[in-house]
């Protein structure tokens, strides 16, 4: 480790210094390489270009003004100022120029600045001279004209005129071509003019002329000299020189930068190579480290495991109950365990290095030891009982087992291991244990085992004497708080005290035992009757409830006692105890500090019920449950659209049981949920089978309230649907209206959640639950199943017909489907169709059948012809009295038949004439009004009269005491009734209208 650490420490400074140097070099090179800032270069070059431009503009403007092409100095002034400002700037060339280049650039710039400054000075003079000259040049001819052409007073002497004229001409010639000879000519002419005498009146005019002439002469000469000076200024060449100096400097700087860039590049390449090399090294190091780490981890793990095992062995060695001796090949003791010391009395230090022979008792012959060693040598081990002597000279028997240990590799004997147990002590302990086996150590009362003995004896004795025995199961009330408050020692003292009180309260022959904790059992023998028992109980409870004084605070406990009275309860001992125990629980429930006598009858009912629920659970587990399916059809369309799954129990002894036989038993049990789950799963599985056969039916499954409200219901359903994806959308759940109404909020929430899974709901047994419209609205079921109790009666009870009709209307209003249950006959179906309830199930269509029969049934089913006949017909509400009339007629006949069969007098109501029975009232009233024109209407009358005629005949026979004759007429009566109904049906068919006309 230290070597490894040393290396990085030296590396550390090397890395730091090297890296820093490298960075500085890199940065330095970068700045050098990037020193030639193109923007700075551009800016400086632009300054130079601007200066050249400005210089040219100044020259141009000078000329323009001199030639009076321009008559103001604004531009000239502006350019001059700009040039001076610019030339001050070029004095500071960009920093990237080398010192030498910089010096030459600056000297060139200084020269240029000087040139520009001189130019500015010349421009300044130029403006002054130009302005003055311009005026005098313009005015001079005018002044000459004023002198020569205007009549003067007195007149100008003639001699002077040529002189003046000569002066004017020479000056104008000079103005045109201002060279030295022209100037000399002007000066000559001026001198001549000056020599002339002028009258005082003429003098100012001549002087004025001469003054302006002098201005022209002087200023023009000067102006031209200035112009020449300006153009002679080396501004251009100096600009060029500056440009060149700068260009060279810039070029040199560029070359320099290029060089640095190359170095930079080289350095970067070097760095990349170094990095690559470093990473390669690191990768190699990482890999070797990884390998090493893996090996070390494995070794470490192995070592840990070994250590753990060693520790385990050591623990076993130390804690073993048996004495263990470990010796070398010569039999010298290497190690012993604590048990050795405990058994033999020898300390470890006393026996290490000695031979186990010290333990010899001398009770065995030499042969015994020879045989022992022979066995060890030959088989590697010996086992047997041997007498040894302990440190104190006592001889004791021990069970000894000696094993030879050999080196795994060489097979050389290395050690012996001797394990021995002190059998003498074992035996002594056994005795002690058997002593303890019958008595409770704390209270010294008999324990459960002894109680069992005593109970058997007590039963025999009681039988013999013909008396009563009370088996009392006593549990202390309020004992636990004592333990909790004062600790277990205090609790134990209380138990001892109570035990003593119980013992004191007993008569001879009675038994009190402690079963453990604060539970005691008392056997009271020789009771003559229940009253005596009562007295004893009161006494016992009183004893227990006496205040306890052995605790820091006075406390009381009480007892709850369960009683079984033998032989009133003639059970075996265990059962008696159990009964007493049960009764004790009843006492506890009854409020404690009392006793309760076991009631065999009560127990039995609980047990039976329990057994039956258990039996149903077994049925589920034994696959005795099966699903039957009852088809649901659309009578109008003539198709089977679904089936309701109904559970059946194939009971081994009782045969097939319908759900009503067993489901009510478990309605409040958790089992209902398990069965519900099974039903859903079974239905889905069956649907899968049918799907495979090409039969796709919507299957509805009944869901119990308890199942629906279980929190995990939706989750379970989701899983079930997930497992049967092909058929899941066709699963429908039926929930009882009564169940749904128990908790509308919860139910509708679950329904919503299930609907989200694509599962539809039907409200089963609709009409039985007193559900209001509000509830119907809140329960989002797709379908309403009209309870069969209404459907079954529609043919005979017009109230039910009205109910069914309004349920259908209600369903339609809430946009729910309605299906009628309990369709028992074809007529039921027909009437339902007429009430616009097209969906139906019931015995009249098919009974529930095993799953395997359903496909064939579906294939074979045809709707009844009477349904087919009215398939396309619909009736208006105004036609309903006709249906009611039909029901009334059936009912009337049925009551008549019932009365005749039962031997009762025929009610007067049945004997009214044709026009006054309910049917007759309709026929003559509403019926005639609506249907009188129809031929079918008229055809009803004759059979109806016939029915009434029959009724009268039957009545007459009955009154004459000819009951049997009256009964014999019944088939005839029914035939007549059927004629009426047939005719009525004809009328109904005639009044029905196709849907589109409706």
């Amino acid at each position: 480790m230290s070597e490894i650490a040393l290396l990085p420490r030296s590396w550390r400074s090397v890395t730091l210094i090297g890296g820093a140097t490298f960075l500085v070099a890199l940065a330095g090179l970068y700045f050098r390489a990037e020193a030639v800032d193109p923007r700075q270069h551009f800016a400086y070059a632009q300054q130079l270009r601007d200066l050249r431009e400005l210089d040219a503009r100044i020259d141009g403007e000078l000329l323009a003004n001199r030639l009076e092409f321009t008559r103001n100095y604004d531009a000239l002034t502006r350019y001059t100022a700009a040039a001076q400002a610019r030339v001050a700037l070029v004095d500071d060339p960009p920093a990237y120029l080398a010192a030498a280049s910089r010096a030459s650039v600056r000297s060139a710039a200084a020269a240029l600045a000087d040139s520009i400054a001189r130019k500015a000075g010349l421009v300044d003079s130029f403006k002054r001279n130009d302005a003055v000259l311009r005026n005098s040049l313009a005015y001079f001819p005018l002044a000459a004209a004023n002198l020569l052409d205007v009549a003067q007073v007195p007149p100008l002497p003639a001699a002077t005129r040529p002189r003046i004229g000569n002066y004017v001409r020479s000056l104008l010639a000079f103005a045109r071509l201002p060279d030295e000879s022209a100037a000399a000519a002007v000066r000559r002419a001026r001198d001549q003019l000056d020599a002339m005498p002028f009258a005082p009146a003429h003098r100012p005019l001549v002087d004025n002329l001469r003054r302006h002439g002098e201005v022209v002469l002087a200023r023009l000469t000067e102006l031209d000299r200035q112009m020449a000076d300006v153009f002679a200024l080396p501004t251009g060449s100096r600009l060029e020189a500056l440009n060149q100096a700068y260009g060279q400097g810039h070029g040199r700087a560029l070359e320099q930068a290029e060089l640095y860039r190359f170095f930079l590049y080289a350095l970067v390449v070097a760095l990349s190579l170094f990095l690559a090399w470093t990473f390669a090294r690191l990768e190699r190091a990482r890999r070797s480290l990884e390998t090493a780490h893996r090996e070390v981890s494995q070794r470490y793990a192995a070592q840990l495991a070994a250590e753990k095992q060693l520790k385990l062995h050591a623990t076993a060695f130390r804690n073993a109950h048996d004495g263990i001796t470990l010796t070398d090949a010569d039999g010298n003791i290497l190690d012993i365990n604590p048990a050795f010391t405990r058994i033999t009395g020898y300390e470890r230090s006393e026996v290490i290095g000695r031979n186990p022979r010290v333990l010899k008792s001398g009770r065995h012959e030499r042969d015994f030891y020879a045989a022992m060693w022979k066995s060890i040598t030959e088989t590697g081990s010996w086992r047997g009982e041997i007498w040894n002597r302990n440190k104190y000279g006592e001889v004791y028997p021990e069970l000894l087992s000696i094993s030879a240990v050999r080196d795994e590799a060489s097979g050389q004997l290395t050690n012996y291991v001797a394990v021995f147990a002190d059998i003498g002590r074992l035996k002594a302990q056994e005795q002690q244990l058997s002593m303890m086996a019958y008595y409770d150590a704390l209270t010294e009362l008999p324990n459960r085992a002894l109680l069992a003995d005593r109970l058997v004896q007590a039963i025999a004795q009681t039988r013999r004497t013909g008396t009563l025995m009370a088996i009392c199961y006593l549990d202390l009330d309020g004992f636990k708080p004592i333990n909790d408050t004062w600790g277990h020692d205090a609790g134990d003292r209380v138990l001892v005290e109570i035990a003593n009180r119980l013992k004191d309260g007993l008569r001879g022959g009675d038994t009190v035992a402690r079963l453990g904790g604060d539970e005691f059992v008392l056997l009271l023998l020789g009771l003559s009757d229940a009253d005596e028992c009562d007295t004893a109980m009161q006494r016992l409870l009183g004893e227990i409830a006496r205040p306890l004084t052995l605790l820091p605070d006075p406390v009381t406990v009480s007892g709850s006692i369960g009683l079984a009275l033998f032989p009133h309860d003639d059970s075996d001992p265990d059962t008696l105890l159990r009964h007493a125990d049960q009764a004790m629980y009843a006492a506890k429930q009854a409020g404690k500090n009392c006793y309760h006598l076991f009631d065999a009858e009560e127990d039995r009912s609980v047990r039976t019920r329990h057994n039956r629920v258990e039996r149903i659970r077994q049925a589920l587990e034994n696959h005795e449950l099966e699903l039957y399916f009852q088809p649901k059809v659309n009578m109008r369309k003539g198709v089977v659209f679904g089936a309701e799954a109904l559970i059946r129990w194939n009971h081994p002894e009782l045969g097939v049981l319908p759900p009503i036989e067993f489901l009510p038993l478990i309605e409040d049990d958790e089992l209902i949920k398990a069965i519900g789950d099974w039903v859903i799963e079974a239905a889905l599985t069956q649907m899968d089978h049918w799907h495979a056969q090409g039969l796709d039916l919507a299957v509805s499954v009944n869901v119990a309230a308890r199942q629906l409200q279980a929190p995990e219901f939706v989750e379970k359903l989701k899983v079930a649907l997930f497992l049967h994806p092909d058929v899941a959308p066709r699963l429908e759940l039926e929930v009882l209206e009564t169940a749904a109404l128990e908790d509308v909020v919860q139910t509708s929430r679950v329904i919503e959640e299930c609907r989200a899974l694509g599962v539809r709901f039907a409200l089963d047994d609709f009409g039985t639950g007193y559900s209001s419209l509000t509830y119907l609205k809140r329960l989002p079921t797709e379908t309403i199943k009209i309870d069969q109790s209404f459907v079954r009666e529609i043919l005979s009870d017009h109230n039910n017909l009205v109910i069914v009709q309004s349920v259908v209307g209600l369903a339609s209003a809430f946009q729910r489907g309605a299906i009628a249950e309990g369709v028992e006959t074809v007529e039921h179906g027909r009437l339902l169709m007429q009430l616009n309830c097209d969906l139906a199930q019931g015995y009249g269509i098919a009974r529930p059948m095993p799953a395997d029969q359903l496909p064939d049934w579906v294939r074979g089913w045809r709707p009844d012809p009477s349904w087919q006949a009215i398939r396309d017909l619909y009736w208006q509400d105004s036609d309903y009295p006709m249906f009611i009339a039909e029901v009334e007629h059936r009912n009337w006949i049925a009551q008549l038949v019932y009365a005749v069969n039962e031997g009762q007098p025929v009610s007067r109501a049945h004997l009214v004439d044709v026009q006054h029975c309910r049917f007759g009232q309709w026929y003559e009233g509403n019926g005639r009004m609506r249907y009188a024109k129809l031929p079918a209407y008229a055809r009803i009358e004759a059979p109806h009269r016939q029915v009434h005629e029959m009724a009268r005949r039957i009545d007459r026979l009955w009154r004459d005491g000819q009951a049997d004759d009256a009964r014999a007429l019944i088939p005839e009566l029914l035939t007549a009734r059927d004629e009426v109904l047939a005719a009525l049906l004809e009328l109904q068919q005639a009044t029905g209208q196709p849907r589109n006309a409706h």
Partner: protein, 342 residues
């Protein structure tokens, strides 16, 4: 672990250093990148070749700076005893001058020379009669320090302004970290002064609105050109872009007591040819800036025109021409903030 601890800090340090370097480089590039070249002034043809040019449009200048300059221009704290603002001698109600022969400074002291107008002063190529200030900024510093004028110093002025929270805030807003200094004060004032341009009827005339001038004024304009007044008083300011000797055609100073101010540009250059040479003053608003000349020797425009004709052009001018030229000169009076200067 030990190896890791020992090896990595240098690498981290180096990485940190590299980051600092990169940041520094970037910063350097950004600041070095701030290279600007002022554009060239427009070529001459744009401003025109005629003798007289219309007033150039007012420059676009930062409003905050202009407002600050305006406040300073009217702030008396720029003088030693808080008695005199720039506007004291450059009174907007008096054509941007004080209409006195020489200005009255702090404590009633009088200066040596007539104060020129501040209106359109930005168009002068140099400032002061003798051109000793190359810019408005330089000019502004002059009176502040002149013991005969405001008699103050930047130290004093800056101290006074710094005690005014409003100024501190305004300067911070306009000049950020530069704050209140002599340089920023004159910069603000000069910026304000560059906005003091006054359009006149003559400008409208030059732009083609012939009836902007009356017939007499038009005649005066023609005379102005014919006599050669426009030889020196040319350009957009009708002067202000050149120097000229006072007394070109005759010795103006003959028989006068020569004061130092009379030496003109000689005081600046010490060159003989600059003796009695003055900046040709611009003639805009000349009608409202009496008295005239550096020595205020002409009380009226007529007088000034006659003096000019005699000494600068070498002409005797008939009265009707004087009248016409004066009429023309009155047309040069411009408007400031919608009102013609009085």
């Amino acid at each position: 672990m030990a190896a890791r601890r020992d090896l990595f800090p240098p690498i981290l340090l180096l990485a940190l250093a590299a980051c600092v370097l990169v940041a520094a480089t970037l910063a350097w590039r950004v600041f070095a990148g701030d290279v600007r070249v002022d554009p060239l002034p427009p070529a001459g043809t744009e401003s025109g070749r005629a003798a007289l040019l219309p007033l150039p449009p007012a420059p676009e200048l930062p409003a905050g700076k202009v407002a600050l300059g305006e406040r300073l221009f009217f702030d008396k704290r720029l003088s030693a005893d808080d008695s005199l603002a720039c506007a004291g001698c450059h009174d907007f109600a008096r054509g941007g001058t004080d209409r006195l022969p020489v200005s009255a400074g702090v404590g009633g002291k009088t200066g040596p020379i007539n104060a020129p107008t501040v209106f359109n002063a930005a168009l002068n190529f140099v400032q002061f009669w003798d051109g000793r200030a190359a810019s408005l900024e330089e000019q502004a510093a002059g009176p502040v320090h002149n013991p005969l004028e405001m008699a103050s110093s930047w130290e004093q002025v800056v101290a006074k302004l710094k005690s005014d929270a409003a100024y501190v805030a305004a300067f911070r807003q306009v000049y950020a970290d530069r704050g209140i200094t002599g340089a920023t004060i004159v910069d603000a004032i000069a910026t304000y002064e560059r906005t003091l341009l006054t359009e006149s009827r003559f400008d409208r005339f030059l732009r083609g609105e012939r009836t902007a001038l009356s017939p007499l004024e038009r005649t005066g304009y023609q005379r102005f050109l014919d006599y050669g007044c426009a030889s020196c008083h040319q350009g957009a300011l009708l002067g202000g872009n050149m120097f000229q000797r006072f007394g070109v055609m005759d010795d103006y100073f003959a028989g006068r007591e020569i004061a130092a101010a009379d030496l003109g540009r000689f005081n600046v250059t010490d060159r003989e040819e600059d003796r009695h040479v003055f900046k040709v003053p611009g003639l805009r608003n000349v009608a409202v800036t009496a008295p005239y000349f550096h020595d205020a020797s002409a009380a009226s425009l007529e007088q000034a025109v006659v003096v000019m004709a005699r000494y600068q052009i070498g002409r005797d001018m008939p009265d009707e021409d004087v009248t016409a030229i004066v009429a023309f000169l009155r047309s040069l009076t411009g408007t400031w903030q919608g009102r013609e200067l009085q």
